[in-house]
């Protein structure tokens, strides 16, 4: 099992990964239109786990693949290229790296193997109804009572909390301290009494997100990660790959491919006006990919990303949004049909692309906040 992936030639590694995905990933789940539920993606996830590939980002000593940044990027590229759907990966992406860095030995010993065995599925309890873009204003409170924290509050926009067995939480443990300084990082079992999950249906009809109500939930003090009131700093160390992920051109590439398909099937490439609009966006996608590649190179060289990476998220999501608008526009009178539009030669789901694109500039830190960050931290404009 313990292959030294990093010693492998990049192209050999790429081929290996690609072949595995092509052989084993269920074809009907390629390029899913929405986040897959655990029941749908379970078999694949377990197969990944058996292969030892569940946690490509973790060190080998903790059961990961221990990939270097450049190999990890190849792994992700191949996932995206093949349209491999995400499993509930918060444990792998967030909790694992966090515990490896900030967790106690007992926490690591308890949680890491269970994540790798898919026994624990994690969800992220950060956002709250009154703290959207302004996360540091969160109000969910944790009070020490005996050996426990007693946690009360509401978390929202928690991705797939319905399927999760555990949740990691940012909670306020010091109400007197300045905004970011009174926050702690807790781990909780979703079966703990007092936790209620309420799925939130979105406009597209999916329930990707939930509200998580916390009513005097007792969390053992041993589930505190790091020091008390140090949660903000800890949470920030998790940013990294996340930040470039939001700026990936993949969604836009997939969407422009749908427009191209539609254009071919509908004969729109005979229309110079369509060709003009399409080309403008195709060039936006191509140039976005060029810019993305530059940031990826930075990661491959082992450098950390600066706040300028926010540019990618802004342009990627707004390009995606413009492509979705063009897709709707190109379908004319069928542009508001729910589900697949039958074009004789094939079927295209117009509205799902439109719906997926709509909140992209909001999630992961709204583009307004991203622009504020770039303006002040990159352009050094006054606050």
């Amino acid at each position: 099992m313990s292959i030294d992936w990093n010693a492998m030639e990049t192209e050999v590694f790429r081929t290996t990964v690609r072949q595995f995905f092509e052989t084993h990933y269920p074809p009907e789940l390629r390029y899913p239109k929405r986040r897959l539920r655990w029941a749908e993606i379970r078999d694949w996830t377990l197969q990944l786990a058996r292969q030892g590939w569940l946690a490509p980002n973790w060190p080998v000593c903790y059961g990961g693949m221990g990939l270097s940044p450049d190999k990890l990027i190849v792994f992700i590229e191949e996932q995206e290229r093949h349209g491999v759907g995400r499993f509930p990966d918060m444990g792998v992406l967030m909790v694992g790296p966090l515990l490896i860095r900030h967790g106690s030995p007992a926490q690591r010993e308890h949680y890491l193997p269970r994540i790798l065995a898919c026994g624990h599925l994690w969800c992220q309890g950060y956002s709250e109804p009154d703290s959207g873009s302004d996360l540091a204003s969160l109000r969910t409170e944790a009070v020490v009572e005996g050996d426990d924290f007693v946690v009360s509050g509401r978390k929202i926009w928690t991705t797939l909390a319905q399927d999760a067995t555990h949740i990691f939480l940012l909670v306020r443990t010091d109400k007197q301290a300045k905004r970011q300084e009174g926050i702690s990082f807790l781990l909780a079992d979703m079966k703990t009494p007092g936790i209620t999950v309420r799925p939130i249906r979105n406009i597209a009809g999916n329930e990707d997100f939930c509200e998580v109500l916390l009513d005097r939930v007792r969390v053992p003090q041993t589930n505190l990660v790091g020091q008390i009131n140090d949660g903000w700093t800890i949470a920030k160390t998790l940013l990294g790959f996340e930040r470039i992920h939001l700026g990936s051109p993949k969604q836009s590439e997939y969407a422009i491919a749908r427009v191209r398909e539609a254009g071919e099937w509908l004969g729109l490439f005979e229309d110079p006006v369509f060709v003009d609009r399409y080309t403008r966006l195709a060039l936006d996608v191509a140039d976005l990919a060029a810019l993305y590649a530059r940031f990826v190179d930075q990661l491959k060289r082992g450098e950390t990303l600066g706040p300028d990476v926010s540019m990618l998220k802004i342009f990627a999501t707004e390009t995606y949004s413009r492509i979705a608008d063009l897709l709707v526009d190109s379908f004319g009178s069928s542009g508001a049909y729910q589900g697949d539009v039958d074009l004789g030669c094939g079927r295209i789901d117009v509205l799902t692309t439109y719906y997926n694109a709509r909140p992209a500039p909001i999630y992961g830190g709204s583009n307004e906040v991203q622009r504020n960050i770039v303006a002040t931290q990159v352009l050094q404009l006054p606050r």
């Binding site: 004319g332 009178s333 069928s334 049909y337 709509r358």
Partner: protein, 391 residues
């Protein structure tokens, strides 16, 4: 313009009535509950619209209606649209209604018009035949001759072909179908129960339905030809233009409501210690939406005044294309921005914004979206006119 003080007074009263009616009887939760459940609207509610006299609002008194103008119709439509009422007021009363009225010398059209005016019948118009709807226009932007054909056979008609994007879909009591009759345009009435007619429902973004109709040698009496040739052409063009304008009215009402909801949210939602409406970038984008709203409103007013005054067909077509182009794009832009203003909450199903966004998608696509109408405007030659016309 509405110089006439009395009419202005009457319009104001109608607006107040319609707003009160819609507010009371059609909160957005009513629309929400009807989504995706055939027929996608409430026939009983249609009856209460009829009780208000609105199903006969545009219909001349000789046919049992009130003979009012588009300005009045716009008030009713606008009030219902603000509440996202899903009833097919525009497709039935404006599109089919105007068409039937223009054909009212025909006995069937005459009687259908009366039934419609009293709320007893829901006729629809079936004219488009392809996926995008673009083949519905010829190279000059006029309504094209359809492929659906109508053969005359010993005094009977045989209708064959396929129609798409028909609103309100399967719930209509019959269809005014555009067809070729001896190489000329004919408008043919096809009751929904006709043998040989199959109707496939397509679910739309807002939970309402459109129909795909297939006519397989549908056998009809010759009297079902409501009009042919130039009479049919001009009736269809006039009804289509009027419908574009009233669809613009609906879109403007949606835009207005989305902007109102956004402004309320911007004023009350706080982040980083202040109302998000105090952030300049959001303020400026809200102003841009207001400008689009007022542009819609100005061009609609111009179009309604011209249509009510009975301007010539070319002028009317250009104005109607302008209205639909501006309002379709502005409403979609407002939908996009409203979601962004609201953040994640604006994208949830339980928040009403989605109802407006989805209705805007449907109305923007219906009858030809912004791009198509802009193309039509130029194909009709409108772009080469001097724009220097203030007088």
């Amino acid at each position: 313009m509405l110089e006439d003080e009395a009419r202005l007074e009457q319009l104001n009263m109608l607006r107040a009535n319609a707003t009160r009616f819609a507010d009371r009887n059609s909160p957005p939760c009513r629309a929400r509950a009807l989504r995706g459940v055939p027929p996608g609207f409430d026939r009983q509610f249609w009856q209460s619209i009829a009780s208000q006299g609105w199903t006969g609002l545009l219909v001349p008194e000789v046919y049992g209606g009130h003979g009012l103008g588009f300005a009045e119709m716009a008030e009713v439509v606008s009030s219902l649209s603000v509440q996202v009422a899903p009833e097919p007021v525009t497709p039935v009363l404006v599109f089919a209604g105007r068409l039937l009225e223009a054909c009212a010398e025909n006995a069937i059209a005459h009687s259908l018009l009366g039934e419609m005016a009293h709320g007893h019948s829901l006729p629809a118009v079936a004219w488009q035949e392809d996926t995008t709807g673009v083949s519905g226009f010829d190279a000059n932007g006029h309504l094209a001759t359809p492929a659906t054909s109508c053969q005359v056979d010993s005094g009977r008609l045989r209708l064959s072909g396929c129609k798409r994007h028909v609103r309100p879909g399967a719930a209509a009591d019959g269809y005014v179908v555009t067809a070729q009759l001896t190489e000329r345009l004919a408008l043919v009435w096809v009751p929904s129960a006709s043998v040989g007619l199959t109707c496939e429902s397509e679910l739309l973004a807002d939970g309402s339905f459109a129909a795909k109709l297939v006519f397989a040698q549908v056998d009809l009496p010759f009297g079902n030809v409501l009009a042919t040739d130039e009479a049919a052409q001009s009736a269809l063009a006039a009804a289509y233009d009027a419908t574009l304008v009233i669809a613009g009215v609906e879109l403007l009402a949606l835009l207005r409501q989305m902007l109102t909801m956004s402004l309320d949210y911007l004023r009350t939602r706080t982040q980083f210690g202040k109302a998000i409406g105090s952030f300049q970038s959001l303020q400026h984008r809200a102003v841009d939406l207001l400008i689009q709203q007022e542009l819609c409103s100005a061009v609609i007013a111009q179009a309604i005044a011209a249509t009510d005054a009975g301007c010539d067909a070319k002028e009317r077509a250009l104005l109607a294309a302008r209205v639909k182009a501006r309002c379709s794009d502005a409403a979609l832009c407002a939908a996009r921005e409203a979601v962004q203003f609201h953040g994640a909450i604006g994208f949830t199903d339980e928040y009403d914004l989605g109802l407006y966004l989805q209705r805007a998608l449907v109305l923007a696509a219906w009858l030809g979206n912004g791009s198509i109408q802009r193309w039509r405007f130029s194909a009709l030659g409108g772009h080469l006119r001097s724009t220097g016309a203030l007088e």
